[in-house]
Symmetry: D2
Subunit: 385 residues, 4 copies
């Protein structure tokens, strides 16, 4: 059996800078106390998540939300807090110019502007040492006939090619897909098939990012994971959970069994091996819950699902599968899922010098009270801003 106290240590989870700021729905962005006022404070919060979990050593940036004058200074700041800069997330959706699209806009001027922003993001990657450029395009149409579906694909391909050509040797594109929202008739990259088609056209440094909240009802996400691992094109996860649409709740909160099944396919396909390059990221909105605690809890949820996936008795599973023992094979999986892995993870934490209960330890640390007191005035640049 897998060494349970060692294995989860392999899984490092990246948290996103924007999770620490206010977020909300179109109806309301509720203001919370102590939210960061600049990228430096976001990184400080992210460092807390790593300090208490030991499993969140990098933080993703969102440009322009996290634009600073001196990326070397920002990177050094992160390093001083024992975390690193992770993926660079391009944002080409929060400018009035992008109302009808960014890289797929019918207007060449807007496309140029959007592509230039993507190239700027690669510059920032060079400055921060980031490996991954995460591209999510809000582009799409709201009404049938509004624009030409195929022409938009051609424009998208053109922009991606230009960005791909600009990538450094170890840099990658992670191309995310999403079924709907903010566009309601078509998204220009609505599903994994579309994302993969573009990645295949680009080359080996282009891979697919699976956001667990971006699928149609009934979609089997772990099947997609298995397909992308088989194709060598699973680049990253954006973890979160949902009951309905892209709810962006804490990963594992809506369907912990699904998260386990996803991690089981990751284990099955070798995705925990760093050599496969699969990045594990959170992408959530803590609209009503405390943000740092929400991130800590999410990291723990991924760890628990992974620990359970590692508990699956692979030999017994294979044997039951090959003999067509439907209930037996399912039981092997469920045995792992039904195991309470929290004691194992507590043991792993203790062995690493961490508190066995990261939430309690964070609550007791006084950090939240400190930032509430300190972070008065100013305003974040971010979600819903």
């Amino acid at each position: 059996m897998t060494d349970l106290t060692a294995a989860p240590a392999d899984l490092m989870i990246e948290t996103p800078s924007w999770a620490y700021g206010n977020s909300g729905t179109r109806f309301k962005v509720f203001a919370q106390q102590g939210v960061p006022r600049d990228p430096y404070e976001k990184i400080a919060d992210a460092a807390q998540v790593h300090a208490f979990t030991g499993a969140a050593p990098t933080v993703a940036l969102h440009i322009p939300w996290d634009r600073v004058d001196d990326y070397a200074a920002l990177t050094a700041h992160a390093r001083s807090l024992d975390v690193g800069i992770g993926a660079i997330n391009a944002n080409v959706f929060q400018d009035d110019d992008y109302m009808l699209g960014s890289v797929t806009n019918p207007d060449p001027r807007v496309r140029r502007k959007a592509t230039d922003h993507l190239l700027e993001c690669v510059d920032i990657m060079d400055a921060t040492g980031s490996r991954d450029l995460k591209l999510w395009f809000s582009d799409g149409t709201n009404y049938p006939g509004q624009d030409d579906i195929r022409a938009r694909q051609d424009r998208l391909a053109e922009a991606l090619e230009e960005v791909y050509a600009r990538l450094g040797g170890d840099q990658r594109i992670l191309l995310e897909y999403k079924l709907f929202e903010p566009a309601f008739y078509t998204m220009d990259v609505p599903d994994w098939g579309t994302s993969l088609v573009h990645c295949l056209a680009l080359g080996p440094k282009a891979t697919v990012c699976v956001d667990t909240g971006h699928h149609a009802p009934g979609t089997n996400i772990e099947f997609i994971v298995a397909m992308l691992l088989r194709a060598g094109r699973l680049g990253a996860f954006d973890f979160n959970s949902r009951f309905y649409a892209d709810d962006d709740l804490m990963v594992g909160a809506a369907d912990p069994f699904q998260l386990f099944r996803i991690m089981h396919e990751v284990v099955r396909g070798g995705g925990l091996d760093p050599a496969t390059g699969v990045a594990f990221m959170l992408d959530q909105c803590h609209n009503i819950e405390p943000k740092i605690q929400g991130q800590i809890r999410s990291v723990m949820n991924v760890q628990e699902a992974t620990a359970k996936a590692l508990l699956v008795d692979a030999a017994a599973l294979k044997s039951a599968q090959e003999t067509g023992d439907v209930l037996g094979a399912n039981a092997v999986l469920m045995d792992a899922y039904n195991t309470d892995v929290r004691p194992l993870l507590a043991e792993w934490r203790t062995a690493k010098g961490l508190s066995a209960d990261p939430i309690a330890a964070y609550r007791a640390s006084g950090y939240f009270e400190k930032i509430v007191a300190e972070r008065v005035g100013g305003s974040q640049a971010g979600w819903g801003a």
Copy 2:
């Protein structure tokens, strides 16, 4: 056969004040030119829709977005523009106090505040002569266990009772339901069953409002319409259309056949008779399209669906249904749907002294250019504000 040139005249459609302001998704509210800066300007825009369609004689208000000091003055303003004030829409979702709910909040102080707002809306109804109080609650929970589902129902019932008791003799409550958003685990009024249960407990002045975008995938909306008409509890429609969730696109834009089927059930159940009290309202967000044109087009879409529904040969349909002629009965319905009713509606407009082509007439009127020039500075209070 129904007199087609007369019948659509019976259908008057209420437009919402908030449709004239900027709206958007959580990702971005795109600013459009010439949007109203106060309720007076919103009403002026609504009056344009009526001027060109002859079918939108009232405008619904949203409180507090449309709060003014002098409702008599606002009503007189509307009257001077040949329109009236319609339903009053309560808003208990855009205040930080409501993060965990309004009338269902676990905190009694917040519940009191929310209920007081509802009572204030009845005061405004008295001042404006409005018949209908439209209640949509964003209340719900995001996480399992977050609050007690049943206790929230009890709190909701308590608030509704207090408001119901405050209603004047001809005033009504329209209780709207919605599957999800902004809450993602439970909404406190997620479906027509929940809304009806509360209406039945309240009394005859409480009826259900059907927003056509607020259902789970696969829900047969016209079935609900038939059920509510049978129960005498269909109070109103909030018309819009959707491909995925609550997209709030122009009614009839996503599935015109569904709109026709809904209007067919309205006709079948007598809902066009003003005595049944069914109110026909638009509730849409024109995120990327011009707002006044969007409303004109939506009114026309409802008129076209209604004209087609009135074309259904009721006797032939009944005969085919009773003899079990599946294809024959379906064909009767499809014959009406496949008819191009635009010439009939053009004729009806011309007979009323309107332009046969409301969109072209509006475009030619110069109104849009005028408001773009005039409405500089100021900011709307509204959606996404």
Copy 3:
């Protein structure tokens, strides 16, 4: 804390006679070995489930599949095997006469025939001592216009009234709803709202049956459970699980967390108290897995979900909910869910003189080999027959 070793004993789960026969999809009913050839053999199989779980003391019948000449003899047979006859399930969908509906058919002759069958089922209830008449109607339409939605409701109400009047003092109607299949445009009872409307019209002996596989995507089933318990109209569950539509998989197999949430609302609403009259039934199709084992596993899954629900620290949950501690309240629920209750249930079984591992004990019993050898020839009357 609840006495865990005692509590699950309160939950008795009814298994359905049809689960022991062959079943399938429209594409194929795969034949399995050893399936029962008559109702007596079905009851014998059901008795095995009870023998190994101690929690399945009754078996539901399906008429006409389980029609026999002598119900007293059948009941005595069950009794001799230590089980009883449970609910009587009417079947008005497997006769060519019902192509366009049974009690809602436009043809009065067919309606009469269907209603007579329902009355026959009450006769059988008298003979078997059954309390519950479970009514699921496959009635509906495939095409818009095919029949009049409202007229079908009136016909349904008329038939239900006649059956309700025939009920004995302790007998009940359980009215099941289903979103779609086998009808594809409308079902005549598609949702809990429709079912409840009819139950309210009938009287207190009419209650709603919640089949966990009969909802639209995204429907929050535990919310419906809470609403029906609040209204005093939750009559029964038909447990199964689904990934897409009415898949009829083993309960708890697709989303064990949902099953836990459902049982949490049952516990919260007092539904485990026999006085509330909530019946817990399985309704599944074991298309590809061994049937008796599938039922045993399903009973165990319900027990595990219930044990976890009973583990929820109600006082801590209430306290967190009332103070608006979103993450704290959720954590109370998740703590219970994440607990491995299998040791507790094993202890409970051992205390009752059962094997701690019912599946292994059944496998070791030789029963399966015995029926495979004995049940040669004959053909079942049942699903897909």
Copy 4:
């Protein structure tokens, strides 16, 4: 403007032999009068559809349902009735051996048997002169863990390679995908992405078949059509319509606007040009409606949608799209959709010597009465058999 009276003539629609036999749901296959008892009678019925519509010149076969000793005789029979043999549909789902899969079965013996059946279908193609081998696999799993997702992909790829290698110079594979049913946890080819991945691996003679009823709720089918045309891999349509799942209703019956949008993308992408090789097929189940009439109506529905698509003013649309005129562009599309094209199609039919009203002409022909009288005794081999 397109020559409307000429254009629809280009669109020839293949009808499926199995649509003429009885079909149903898992609950019941209702028997209809006059259904064919062998492949010869099915082809005779298909010939009627062509005789009255002039647009259904080929009929697809389903093997083994339509297995005959002498395919040359069957082909000659078809030719004598003025129709031809179309695609060969393999059936590897109606044998007890396939309970756990056909070409993806864990058992190599079953895989061999299934692949041999596919090769037999190519033999039949050689005998009938068919161009297309349509492959739909019911393969999948019902329970998590039941089998290895990735291993099943490898097995699938292996079988497809063998069949691909066997294809003659002008023969093609059409690989169909389906979200769910009959498998409920995973289908082995659930979406267009999976199908395309396999087609790309096979080579240019492998293309994707889009069944319009095989998608998750909310999927934008016309987007997929545009993507596949762009990739040169759209091989065929299986037309039908659905409200919920794979309802297999008459195409255009559930959402005629969607069908129009699909045909608009076909026109836009050049798919009406026979050189692109896109095949237009019906795949429906007439469970409750007369089958030949149902096919005639379906052919007419596709013709109407195509005629409307051809009416779209491409230049005006392009102009509005390029200038970002959202409402204007949508209006161009809607103008075409709202046009009543039935008179145009009646004119086209008359010009071809057909009745302007195919349904009425068929009804008056006496064919139905004739087959009811003649086809007594015997039983079909087919759906639900």
